[in-house]
Amino acid sequence: MTLRTIVNDLREAISKQWLVVWLIIGVIIRISISPLFSHLDLITLDQSALNLATNHTLILSDSAAIIYLLAGWLGLLLPVLPHYLVGLIVNSQGTSESTFIQSQPGIQILLLTTRIPYIFFDILSGLVIQKMFKGSGFEKKAFIIWMLNPVTIFVSYFFGQYDIIPTFFLILAIYLFKKDSYALSSLSLGVVAALKSFGFLFIPLIPIIAGRNKPANTKAKLWVVSTILGLIPILTSDLSVSLFKSAYVSANAANAGLFNGYYGTQMYNQGSVVGNSFLSALVFFALDYSVHVSTLESFVDVLYLFPIIYGIFILYCNYIGNAGFDGMIDDMVILLSAYYALNLFLPQWFVWFQPLLLYKSLKSGELYKIVFFASIPIFFIYTWFWDPNLTTLLFLPLTPSAAFWQGPVAIMNDHGWPAIQLVQAARSFLSGLLLFVSGFCIIKGWQFRQNVPPKESAIIG
């Protein structure tokens, strides 16, 4: 399995007429939405990328890997970007001015330009997904659903989050795993981790699942290769940071607990001293958003739910879980379902789950279809937690008056409706669905180990 094989597969894919038609439709939808909507996170990312492209100094507002990618891309296109706007963003003090910046004339071209790499990786994701269904009869359906998926479209092109890029590398890792290319699969998961730390948690799955029923030395080799190749992108991304001079972006330390940037000679992220960016991101993902309980001793909280789940999960994968490609998909579904169900999660993180849920809903029956389609409206209700940033303020590039519009939560509150409780109920309902999915996959894995044929039909009716 080489990269050439993948390229050949993709070349073969775009020779299909239906695929080209839906690809064009998908791209037109994405291009049409991109210049109209914005979010402060996108402006912050643009600030880092443009700063690197113009001043050659680094603002580590996100993973270094995405900043390098966007800096390279936007650096190429600097001549066509409005100079006034680039100057405004590069010299801004961060999020405090983002509402103002997002409403400025000329922002449209920057919004589209920033999202072109997203469109590229989004299309590639669709192409790889339909390849995963090769010969199953679901290729067309999978590609169309991917191109029209409201969750990925909202997160990438309304909201402007780059999670579609790590999602592509996650899909690629799964595809490579299916093709028995474990080394490249590990490398691809390493790229996911360099972009979004959650990818790191999946790297052990490769030696665990691929090494099942293999001799000890093969297992050991798989562990070594997967670990090394998985760590290469992470270390490259993190260590390369020292090659660049850090940009001095002033933070407002009066904004307790939420300030990003320099105060004095120390840099902060979310009000904490910045350390290693990958580890900080991993801690943020695995601990900060996890439910935890305190002991009677007041000085430390020791019990965090997500690491407990992860510990159980790793043992499950090793001793109980399904084998092979389906085992890989199931295990990823189990972990992500449990994460979304039991932890606070940012809306953009739900994109990681989309290819897995899509795969399961087309391949494994009605249960997943129900969850896949039911999760979409609930996801949009969940985004109201971030009202108005994820509702009315998205429209700022289209009309500055959006800054004064009331969002859905505010409108419902004005009418005396329990808006936040509604959001909480919807989110909890989603947790219920996802916990069931997680549990169902676990039972399926258990049945696999017991050599009992999975009786999905009995459970899902």
Binding site: Q93, L112, N252, Y263, L396, P400
Partner: protein
């Protein structure tokens, strides 16, 4: 295969063309000027003010004023951005009928209108606060006539004397004279005394008062180039706060969704800008703590709503600095202070 490649290239070009055309169309259709900051309060005390500090070469515009009968008993020196006059007070001065002893200096000013900038600010400190000692000033009009102020007591602490210059002369001023004398008691014989000046400036009312949590620091309120500057010639320790406070002619309350905008310049990264909005006499709300690693001006926007301030009353605004690392000769400047809302 070649045909496929051509189709692929055409397809890519088509999509790029669509993107360019679509963005152009959106930019034409969505024509708006964007959000703008609309101030509902601007601090005008920085505007139209003229300040004179000692950074000018001593031989440019400054000259010593000597009193008859006091040869070799006075001096005038400029050092470390402070001008100092010294007088050896030895009783009645036989050189003048009034018997007054003293010394002073004059400085050229670029045609300041006391109609527009009616307040004069003199930052001074004397070696003695003897009740015999006084400072005074005079303003020279465009015809060469001098207009004299009353006397103000000497002070052994740094003091910002702010007084109504318009009452002394209402019109265009070309020169200012400052004198250190024993006018309150010409028989005074306290020996050698001196009077130091860190600033002379003209501005509008209201002025800003100085507040600090440190002892014996010399904060200077400099009105120069439309800015207010706080500085100290000494090494200030970690945690020292020096502020300028304004509690007059403010809006009664903040408007919903207000932003505070201000330009800030600091002398080093160890000096943190500190902006406080007092919602009553006992409730300070720190809305800005920010450092810069250069000595350039920075335009700062503070969304007050994000800091929990929305429609509250305003009792006082405080602009100042807090020392993060022991810093020699720290200073901070503020300009263009506004409270504004975003409007479309």
């Amino acid at each position: 295969l070649k045909e496929r490649k051509i189709i692929l290239i055409l397809l890519i070009l088509l999509l790029i063309g669509y993107g360019v055309a679509y963005v152009s169309l959106v930019e034409r259709l969505a024509t708006h000027k964007g959000l703008v900051f609309t101030p509902y309060f601007e601090d005008s005390s920085f505007n139209t003010q003229v300040g004179l500090n000692w950074s000018s070469p001593p031989n440019t515009g400054w000259s010593q004023v000597t009193f008859p009968g006091l040869n070799n008993q006075t001096h005038f020196i400029i050092d470390n951005e402070i001008g100092t006059v010294g007088v050896d007070f030895s009783g009645q001065n036989s050189g003048l009928p009034s018997g007054v002893s003293g010394a002073g200096f004059t400085v050229n000013v670029p045609n300041v209108s006391t109609t527009n900038a009616p307040i004069i600010l003199i930052s001074h400190k004397e070696s003695s606060s003897s009740s015999a000692l006084a400072i005074s000033y005079a303003l020279r009009d465009t015809y060469g006539g001098w207009h004299y102020s009353t006397f103000f007591p000497a002070s052994s602490q740094w003091t910002n004397l702010t007084t109504d210059a318009q009452n002394v002369y209402n019109g265009t001023v070309t020169q200012v004279e400052v004198k250190f004398t024993d006018d309150y008691n010409p028989a005074y014989s306290g020996g050698f005394q001196n009077s130091s000046y860190s600033l002379i400036g003209f501005g509008q009312s209201p002025t800003w008062g100085i507040a600090t949590n440190a002892q014996n620091v010399r904060p200077a309120e400099v009105v120069y180039g439309n800015a207010i500057t706080l500085s100290s010639p000494e090494t200030l320790k970690v945690g020292t706060i020096v502020s300028a406070q304004r509690d007059s002619s403010l809006p009664i309350s903040l408007l919903a969704g207000s932003y505070l905008t201000v330009s800030i310049k600091t002398s080093s990264v160890g000096v943190s800008a500190r902006v406080v909005i007092w919602t009553n006499s006992e409730t300070p709300n720190v809305v800005l703590l920010q450092t810069y690693n250069d000595t350039l001006w920075h335009n700062v926007v503070v969304p007050l709503e994000d800091l929990g301030l929305n429609s509250q009353n305003i009792y006082m605004i405080e602009l100042g600095m807090v020392i993060l690392y022991n810093t020699n000769n720290p200073s901070i400047s503020f300009a263009n202070l506004t409270l504004a809302t975003l409007t479309s």
